[in-house]
Symmetry: C2
Subunit: 441 residues, 2 copies
Amino acid sequence: MRMYDIIAKKKIGYELTLDEIEFAFMGFTREEIPDYQMSALLMAIYFNGMTLSETINLTKCMANSGEKVDLSEIQGIKVDKHSTGGVGDKTTLIVTPIVAACGVKVAKMSGKGLGFTGGTIDKLESIKGFDTCLSIQRFIEAVNKVGACIAGGTSNLAPADKKLYALRDVTATVDSIPLIASSIMSKKLASGADGILLDVKTGSGAFMKSIEDSIKLAQIMVDIGYGAGKKVSALITNMDIPLGNKIGNSLEVVEAVQILKGAGPKDLTQMCVALAVEMLVLAGRGDADFCTSLVEETLSSGSAFEKLCEIVTEQGGDAQMIREPSGFTVARVCKEVISPKSGYITKMDTEAVGISSVMLGAGRDTKDSEIDYSAGIDMKKKTGDYVKEGETVAVFYTQSEELFDNAAEKYLSALTISGNKPSESPLIYAKVEKSHIMRYE
Amino acid sequence: MRMYDIIAKKKIGYELTLDEIEFAFMGFTREEIPDYQMSALLMAIYFNGMTLSETINLTKCMANSGEKVDLSEIQGIKVDKHSTGGVGDKTTLIVTPIVAACGVKVAKMSGKGLGFTGGTIDKLESIKGFDTCLSIQRFIEAVNKVGACIAGGTSNLAPADKKLYALRDVTATVDSIPLIASSIMSKKLASGADGILLDVKTGSGAFMKSIEDSIKLAQIMVDIGYGAGKKVSALITNMDIPLGNKIGNSLEVVEAVQILKGAGPKDLTQMCVALAVEMLVLAGRGDADFCTSLVEETLSSGSAFEKLCEIVTEQGGDAQMIREPSGFTVARVCKEVISPKSGYITKMDTEAVGISSVMLGAGRDTKDSEIDYSAGIDMKKKTGDYVKEGETVAVFYTQSEELFDNAAEKYLSALTISGNKPSESPLIYAKVEKSHIMRYE
């Protein structure tokens, strides 16, 4: 078998066999296939796509390339959740304790933030002592003991995907639906949960910009999951507007606590209830109505909040910091961003909002950037709100005064302010299950 | 400027600017742009093509990447010819002395054979003493003195193309019309002739398989040439059947001599007359009718043959070897290939015929393979001929008995023998000039 022939075959649009996929991608992982041949193949895949069978084979091949987590020591059905990444997306911090409080085990592998999107691991690490680098044994113990654990992926989970992603990132071959699907699902298959809920974020603050592309991506991921014996479903959710009001690591932890105490923003609460219900349904806890009542009960009774405290304590974190939000590093600079005109906010370029929070120090420009956990944005006005000239649209937090001006300029450039109140967009566009798509208004 | 953005721009189908082309391709030549980014760009070019303006910019950029031959010391118009490569294509050995004998200077840069196609340099080197590695000064002197010179390209002619071709060759990105056009024309622009005749070989024994693709390629190359102030035209010629009867280096030199003495195969003679006439017309020697009479005169008078002897002598070769063909290394094995059945040869897979001559030792599998100058094929029957079962279809020459069987099997598999006499195909399909295509029957 020759890599040249595999590139040529994909280039003219033929389907690659399992053997050819293994030869190319495992050869690349073992450094037997040079980068320059793989990048040519990746670009040919960008143009000609992959069939479902090719995508499943690639996913399995990458999932098998390293360590696979065996969760059989955890009793009952284990669920996981994956978000394709967005701005202000702190849902994992909220949904994980809710689902665990409803009696379903959550074995959650999370990632760090990169670019304009945040990452759950960074948010959790803003809690003093919180440890996300757990051995698989510790991970299993924690899930067994408190019902949930949120850990960073081990470095040897799907190493083929890691190496491939690094090449895609510099060769403009990231935005290929089968490559995105296999990248996400290879890590999820390797991480051992029985049920996986996919949150495919869609819009100006997400990698997927169109609902139709998101549905296509979700369908492929659901099919891959079932092909590997997992229960998978997906929600296609709105990322044309940041989720909740806070962006930035410790700011988002504080907002998550508000939600769990029943006092957070409505959009974020609704989204978290929907995600938690889906995870419970996937785990077979009951039908949607029953699970909704369970979830609402955990919020009103405070049991979900208590579960978060247990999770934090179990992973070495200081639960007192979230019981009475204090002890987080305080930003040195706290300054208001003022609206230059009056009118309705009709649109927020959510990627630009995310970038402005990175400019304040809340995110990473490159993999090695240091994060300022205290930096971020408290949005006072969002899409649909009326704002007067001179009124505060957001409060910025940062350690360095000089970062403010550029970030504020970026933030204001992200807002479209005009005369007419915009119509409201749905929070959730669609739900994708095996052989079934349900679209919401 | 970032290579990533250039790849992404081409991927979504936008035209690259001159600055972007220089940044990418000169950066690659200087090893500032890694192979894996260039191969991704090449594959995006394969899919999205290049505009004429991009192709001209790429060609000029590669032509300017190394030494440029200055032929201004040679008086009069200098013409060159380029064949895209075929099987049994010894036309350069014949056309060069004809054109020079008609009083037009030929400054010919040639290449070595690779794969199933032969190369002029290899054929000439089968003549004892013949030197194709000339300094530019010696090249100019030779053209001035005898009217023609055939040299191998200097290693520093269009080095960007050389480096790029090596990458295309291993990433399945050779068969892109703008990349082929810019590769050929960058070397031709750098090699200094005023007029260039392109022989675009088409069919089973050529890289270009369809007449329409060949016309498209020719049009782009003609446009590039005019864009750089050169006179260029192209003939689209038949390579569905090997040219002449002989394949292999010294065998082809002997056949070239036969043509120049007026005693060679009809197809090859006609093709050479047509090519020579085009070169003379390009050089402004007269109209096609007048140039045809000039060419025929050089063949009947023997002046073209004498010119070949002068060229050989000037480049250090032993002209006696071609005056009385002898002194060539004699193949140790000379063996007939026998037809397994009776009928008309209706088709020859010309690439397979070329491969069978390589299997006898006449060509190169890789750039570093050694060539056996004596090896090759003398075809006794070609497309359109009737052959009886047990009759000789070809005589094979090789140094090693054990190479015969596989090569003969390959050769016979290339022939389609059936009941009906096939209709005759034209030798020349079309002529492409600036803004004008003439198609022949």
